[in-house]
């Protein structure tokens, strides 16, 4: 039997390089970990290049139909690699400042990337589960990596137990689906479901468990409880990682499972997602107002954004999925910048994760206050920043799908949410600083975060480019 392994070249490359990095880390023990860091970054860039190089025009199946490579997977993998690249760059600054720099951070990060890629390219219920576990296991370890911090250990413990519970539910749902259809292959599962003439309660039963698994990974209410605690407890560099790239993978997981596999049950999962989406937008935006810690606030902001993301998926059309994809990529970009700013302002022995730490930033650093302003406006959905377009496309799809009331609530919750984003702008520009602040971060960090902020503005001025990529990725 001959396998065509070319479509999986990026995964193979990442796995191979992760092992190389592991060995280098073990034997080349220097305190700055520069070699490990650069090898990891090269791996990510290489994976992105390989993805583009082998990126297919059409859907290509490999490994006995277990693996799928299509334009959607290519776009998401490149996005994962790029986002992780930036995350590693920010993280290195943070970890060095806080004396936490360990080679394992990058090794585990690479394995997490591998997990995401597996998840993105999954064409089989089995690979979805395995990819998810690979990703999650790496993330637990990354959260716990800072052993001396009690909050990090607590966060890791919570994350681990809850995630295990969710995985159990997902696995149970998968087993039910397997029991009914006799298949693990997504295409065949989909075929069998569409061939069914009468509604099958058992399928819906399995679907509920699958939805719980997806909702947990995304962080939709009421399966969101881990997010605030883990975001706050974990070192900021890890929070940054957890909150960005894995959401791209979770989006892919939702599309693979719900659209590719369970597309025949759209009538049911649409209603479920409406509930989850509504609750997420409501809870995320309202509770975020009460937070005084920016990491926790951004955690609730994530939950609210997940609600919006679900809007795109639940509209149930190709245009809806593309808008959701646009949203998740944009979300990753904005969140990277937001946590990046937290890292930028932090320094040795000072976390800078309270809202008050942003007071008077404009007087001390006009430029970075402006970057943060871009990020906050974009997160709030103020035009012309790209966050506005994300919301716009998603809302348009929901309205086209005829669920106008949900769109109306979404807008109301956005207005509520604008409060806590704009509060940061107010703190930066209109309040006096409590602390004397000096930005000690490296030049590359300053440069990249500036580019990151400006990208939000640039994409907002020209949203058509990314949107057409998203549309092309899903219509193939």
């Amino acid at each position: 039997m001959i396998f065509d392994i070319a479509p999986a070249a990026p995964e193979i490359f990442v796995l191979g390089m992760a092992c190389v990095v592991l060995i280098v880390e073990a034997y080349h023990n220097e305190p700055s970990h520069a070699l490990v860091y650069w090898l990891a970054q090269v791996t990510l860039l290489g994976a992105a290049v390989l993805t583009l190089y082998f990126g297919p025009e059409q859907t290509v199946l490999a490994f006995n139909d277990i693996f799928v490579s299509d334009p959607m997977s290519a776009l998401l993998k490149v996005a994962v690699c790029v986002v992780t690249f930036v995350v590693f760059l920010y993280s290195r600054t943070y970890l060095r400042e806080h004396d936490l720099l360990k080679g394992e951070y990058f090794v585990l990060g690479l394995f997490a990337v591998l997990g995401m890629m597996v998840l993105i390219s999954a064409h089989n219920l089995l690979t979805i589960y395995l990819g998810l576990e690979l990703l999650s296991l790496s993330l637990y370890a990354m959260v716990a990596l800072h052993r001396d911090s009690e909050s990090a250990s607590e966060a890791a413990m919570k994350y681990f137990v809850l995630s295990a519970l969710a995985s159990g539910m997902l696995l149970y749902g998968i087993s039910i689906l397997y029991g009914v259809t006799g298949n693990l292959d997504l295409a065949r599962v989909s075929l069998i479901i569409t061939e069914q003439t009468e509604p099958n309660t058992l399928l819906i039963f399995g679907l509920v468990f699958v939805i719980v698994g997806v909702a947990f990974k995304l962080g939709a209410v009421p399966f969101h409880m881990w997010i605030p605690d883990v975001y706050q407890g974990a070192p900021t560099s890890v929070t940054l990682f957890i909150s960005t790239a894995p959401k791209l993978a979770a989006f892919a997981m939702a599309i693979r499972l719900l659209v590719d596999g369970l597309g025949g049950l759209i009538g049911s999962w649409q209603d479920m997602l409406i509930i989850l989406s509504f609750l997420s937008m409501a809870a995320g935006n309202i509770i975020a107002i009460a937070q005084s810690n920016i990491k926790r606030m951004l955690a609730y902001s994530t939950i609210a954004h997940v609600g919006f993301l679900l809007l795109g998926i639940l509209s149930g059309t190709l245009a809806g999925y593309s808008s959701a994809m646009f949203y998740v990529i944009v979300y990753a970009l904005m969140t990277t910048a937001a946590f990046g700013m937290v890292i930028l302002l932090s320094r040795s022995g000072f976390e800078s994760d309270r809202l008050d730490d942003f007071k008077g930033l404009a007087q001390q650093s006009q430029w970075f206050a402006f970057v943060m302003l871009i990020v906050m406006f974009s997160l709030a959905g103020v035009p012309p920043f790209v966050g506005f377009w994300g919301k716009w496309f998603v809302l348009k799809e929901v309205i086209d799908a005829g669920i106008v009331w949900l769109a109306a609530f979404a807008v109301i919750f956005t207005v509520i949410g604008a409060f806590y984003y704009l509060r940061i702008v107010k703190l930066m520009y209109f309040d006096k600083a409590d602390t004397d602040r000096s930005i000690t971060s490296s030049h590359e960090m300053r440069f990249v975060i500036s580019v990151n902020g400006l990208a939000i503005l640039a994409l907002g001025l020209a949203p058509g480019l990314l949107m057409s990529l998203c549309v092309a990725a899903l219509s193939a």
Partner: protein, 202 residues
Amino acid sequence: MTDQIIFYALALLLIFAGSMVITVRNPVHAALFLVLAFFTSAAIWLLLEAEFLAIALVLVYVGAVMVLFLFVMMMLDINLAPLREGFARYLPVGGLVALLMMFAMGLVVGPRYFGSERFPVPARHAADYSNTKELGSVLYTDYVYPFEIAAAILLVAIVAAIALTLRRRPHIKAQKPQLQVAVRREDRIRLVKMTSEKKGSP
């Protein structure tokens, strides 16, 4: 008929063992009940002609994992009383939810949908059929991709375990026998030439 009697007996035993794991007070007992649960599920798998999996379960989980578990528990002597403090307090609510859950699931996962008459009887294999061989032949061909991913997961588990537990303590004072053995005379003794004192000086 005999199959069914054996199955139900094993299934009841499995449920009993499972509930004992989470209710008994003594952690060692709980671990032993877990061993029992593994054994019974292995037996059920045997009924399903999945010999390899059954044996692997017994060898790996019972033989290795649980024994290690017991060692750790006995060595650490964890006092589990504080962990159980809330047990009685949360029992009513938890129990209610558990009952509801069982009810909700039982309605669906019952004979109405999963009754044996709804599924074709699987074909019996010949006596010389080897479950192990079959598994082996697909594991490295059809399922090589998931297999590799599973391997990667194990690797991550190892990396994580080591990263989380291995501590380099540079300041600790410990003997290093290999250095003591490999020591040379030149390392320890220095011969110093001194001029002898002259007698009769003032």
